[in-house]
């Protein structure tokens, strides 16, 4: 038993923290918060050079081939920013989906480019009838004269505006009794005529509507080369990707907790630091309890995945706990900070926005609680 990070992980953590502190000051983060891509070409190049886009991609496909826990350490520090942009969507979820589902040729063609930042992936799964369940995939298509033709809308797609390519879940058959869910993942070049990406306005970041108008996708765009296996590929990838998304949220919770502790020491009211008031302490203690619940469920899920143990229930647990924790930690911080907390320039609302935006990504707490019960065989 050893619940500490390895020396290599400690080094990575320090390097990422240093990078985030240097490159992502508060003003940069605030400026990026509502941009369509959440990143600038300069920042993207620097991150690419550090090799972080290939963190989970095996060395044989041009990546760093690091462990899922290594990736989680990286994303925890990014979450501390919180650093926006397509890093998770492309280099974790997208890459793992290709790795899980792609043919050997597709992996060789695509993954090195993802690791080098020359391809940016976004998984377009959800639609207007929102939900991360296979029956919610209604966009239908079929192969005609060597092409799939897409007409319809994908909604609440994360990081599509930054993507060069979409991994689009489409229905190529009704669900069959044999267990196939009839869903296919198509690799769609985002520059194909008829693809429209519109970043949604409001209190969210880098979430898009993707529309398809007579979009022609070549037959070889089917991930894995076989129709009907797309949902299974996505599920397999999500199982590994979810704890890394959770780690990002753990990092965000950690940063928000530290922000609140610091504020409790410096904000003076009634002639003393507000942290001397037990009501204020209660908020912060609630935050650290949520933070630690998120942290340990997340890292145990990663350990189970890496050590080859059955991990599904732990992954659902981590997502159910962490997505709720992120909401609650930010709520607590707003109670502590009051008016200052809602000043955009203070930076807390960056995290609060992320906690709400990411709450639903890859399934909300309710979905994962239900899937937890299923995974436990109840």
């Amino acid at each position: 038993m050893d619940l500490g990070l390895t020396e290599a992980q400690e080094l990575l953590k320090a390097a990422v923290a240093d990078f985030v502190q240097r490159e992502y000051d508060k003003n940069t983060l605030i400026a990026l918060e509502s941009t369509p891509t959440g990143i600038t070409p300069q920042l993207f190049r620097k991150i690419t050079e550090l090799g972080w886009l290939g963190v989970v991609i095996p060395e044989q496909y041009g990546g760093e081939g690091r462990s899922l826990t290594d990736a989680a350490v990286l994303f925890e520090e990014l979450g501390g920013g919180p650093v926006p942009g397509p890093l998770f969507s492309s280099s974790v979820l997208g890459a793992l989906t290709v790795l899980q589902g792609g043919t050997e040729a597709q992996k060789q063609a695509l993954l090195p480019l993802v690791a080098r930042g020359e391809r940016v992936l976004s998984v377009a799964a959800t639609e207007a009838d929102y939900g991360w369940r296979p029956e919610k995939v209604q966009l239908q298509t079929s192969l005609q004269r060597g092409h799939y033709v897409l007409n319809g809308v994908k909604l609440f797609v994360h990081d599509a505006a930054a993507a060069t390519h979409l991994l689009c879940a489409v229905r190529t058959a009704p669900p069959s009794n044999g267990g196939s869910r009839g869903i296919t993942l198509l690799l769609v070049d985002a520059s194909t005529p008829g693809v429209g990406v519109r970043t949604l306005s409001g209190w969210m970041g880098q979430v898009d509507e993707v529309s398809f108008t007579n979009v022609q996708v070549p037959a070889d765009g089917v991930l894995g080369g076989v129709e009907g296996q797309g949902w299974e590929m996505l599920e397999a990838a999500a199982l590994q990707a979810i704890p890394i998304l959770c780690a990002y949220q753990v990092g965000s919770c950690q940063a928000v907790f530290e922000m609140a502790v610091a504020y409790s020491r410096t904000r003076i009211q009634f002639s003393q630091p507000i942290g001397r008031f037990q009501r204020v302490q209660d908020h912060i203690i609630g935050m650290v309890n949520q933070l630690d619940a998120a942290r340990w469920t997340t890292y145990e899920a990663l350990w189970k995945l890496e050590s080859g143990r059955p991990a599904a229930s732990s992954v659902h647990l981590a997502k159910a706990v962490t997505s709720e924790a992120a909401l609650k930690v930010c709520d607590g911080a707003h109670e502590v900070h009051a008016g200052v907390g809602v000043m955009r320039e203070y930076g807390l609302t960056l995290h609060t926005q992320r906690s709400r935006t990411l709450y639903h990504y890859l399934g909300d707490a309710r979905l994962h609680r239900r899937r937890l019960a299923d995974a436990l065989g109840w």
Partner: protein, 410 residues
């Protein structure tokens, strides 16, 4: 990270040794009642016998040095002993001995060599069962405000006062307490920490009638008492940690009481509740297929998983000698509040069945009925939830830059 002990061949051999040893040494006919208040004297004596046998092997308090009755076992080896005992729903120690666990640690940190040689082997080999005497009628959360006095008189301290919520069924051999040794000195500098033989003249022990006794997990006490001291003469040798230094000695056992040692045992109530829901039918339908009950099960499961992970993390920090801060009181806080919340979710899930231990209608032989009581009683031992939060706040440094340190365990 590694959330499980990865056992070496040497450790696997140790496990085989422990397992075989337990088969030979667990007394015949050992049974544990659902309600610890029903532990018979005969069964208690079997548990004590097992404790002495474990003690003779150095496995009762295995992390301590051999010289004092332990066997210098590292965390991974201790986990093996705990896991093997857990197969019998037993713990280390197998009977309620929080006074030995907490007092032993305190003497180990603060005692003179002579005191350690005298007291520790008897505790660690299971010859004594030890009670801790802390709370008083007017000193609970404000423990440093105890009024019991121990005034030096020659080679003795003369003890007068009253302690409450003490002990367990079937008595003990040794007790310890903190008491005022110098009424003139300021708070925290006026206390002494004393080991007290149970059979000294002037000690009176009266049972208390509580909703149930204990409830924080581990072996349950089964019964609590009021203890009166009337001019009890305690040998001065038994003062541990020096004159007026009792509060510092107390920081060690308070750290343990505040969860600092961690926790690695199963939650039997949760395990059995979930099992009950997946195996019990009402109206032809398994309880777990009812969507409401299914949601309740998930809620219980998630709360308990977080508790398990907090316990494991704190256990690792403590046994691997890592720096500790707020983690112990956080575990204690979570354990207490979660127990109450879990009890209420179970009440919601199973309705009035939860409240009866009727032989015909009570589920799980009354286990859930007892839990409804013990979850409430468990809120106060070792510090209330509010006290745990106060300690967390000081150690995190909320509103202050001078962070309080966790109590010494080594």
């Amino acid at each position: 990270m590694d959330f499980e002990v990865t056992y070496t061949p040497e450790q696997e051999a140790f496990r085989a040794e422990v397992r075989a040893w337990l088969v030979e040494n667990i007394p015949d006919g050992l049974e544990q009642p659902v309600d610890p208040a029903h532990l018979s004297l005969e069964q208690y004596q079997k548990l004590r016998e097992l404790g002495r046998r474990l003690g003779a092997k150095g496995w009762l308090y295995p992390t301590y040095p051999r010289a004092y009755g332990g066997s210098d076992l590292s965390v991974d080896f201790v986990m093996i002993v705990e896991e093997e005992l857990d197969r019998y729903s037993l713990h280390l120690p197998p009977y309620y001995d929080s006074g030995g666990r907490l007092g032993g640690a305190s003497i180990f940190v603060w005692g003179t060599e002579e005191q350690k040689q005298y007291f520790l082997p008897k505790i660690f080999r299971g010859e004594w069962r030890t009670w801790q005497l802390l709370s008083e009628p007017s000193a609970g959360s404000d423990l440093a405000g105890v009024q019991t006095r121990a005034i030096r008189d020659g080679d003795f301290y003369v003890l007068n006062g009253q302690k409450i919520y003490i002990g367990s069924l079937h008595g003990c051999e040794m007790m310890w307490t903190i008491a005022v040794t110098d009424p003139e000195r300021p708070r925290h500098e006026n206390l002494g920490w004393l080991m007290i033989p149970y059979d000294l003249p002037g000690i009176e022990v009266r049972p208390m009638e509580l909703l149930t006794a204990g409830g924080e997990g581990g072996a349950s006490p089964g019964l609590k008492h009021t203890v009166f001291f009337d001019n009890v003469r305690v040998p001065a040798f038994n003062l541990v940690g020096g004159e007026n230094n009792g509060w510092r000695v107390a920081t060690t056992h308070l750290e343990l009481e505040h969860g600092g040692g961690g926790m690695v045992r199963r939650n039997r109530v949760v395990d059995e509740f979930l099992e009950y829901c997946t195996t019990t039918k009402r109206n032809g339908e398994t309880l777990s297929q009812d969507p409401d009950i299914r949601d309740d099960m998930v809620e219980v499961y998630i709360k308990n998983e977080i508790l398990r992970l907090f316990g494991l993390r704190t256990y690792w920090l403590s046994h691997a000698h890592k720096p500790r801060s707020y983690e112990g009181p956080q575990l204690s806080y979570w354990r207490k509040t979660n127990a109450l919340e879990i009890a209420e979710v179970i009440l919601r899930a199973l309705g009035p069945y939860t409240m009866t231990n009727d032989a015909q209608w009570g589920p799980l032989a009354g286990l859930l009925e007892h839990y409804q009581r013990s979850a409430i009683v468990g809120l106060h031992p070792g510090g209330t939830t509010d006290i745990q939060k106060v300690i967390m706040a000081r150690r995190i440094g909320i509103g202050r830059t001078d962070k309080e340190q966790a109590g010494r365990l080594r």
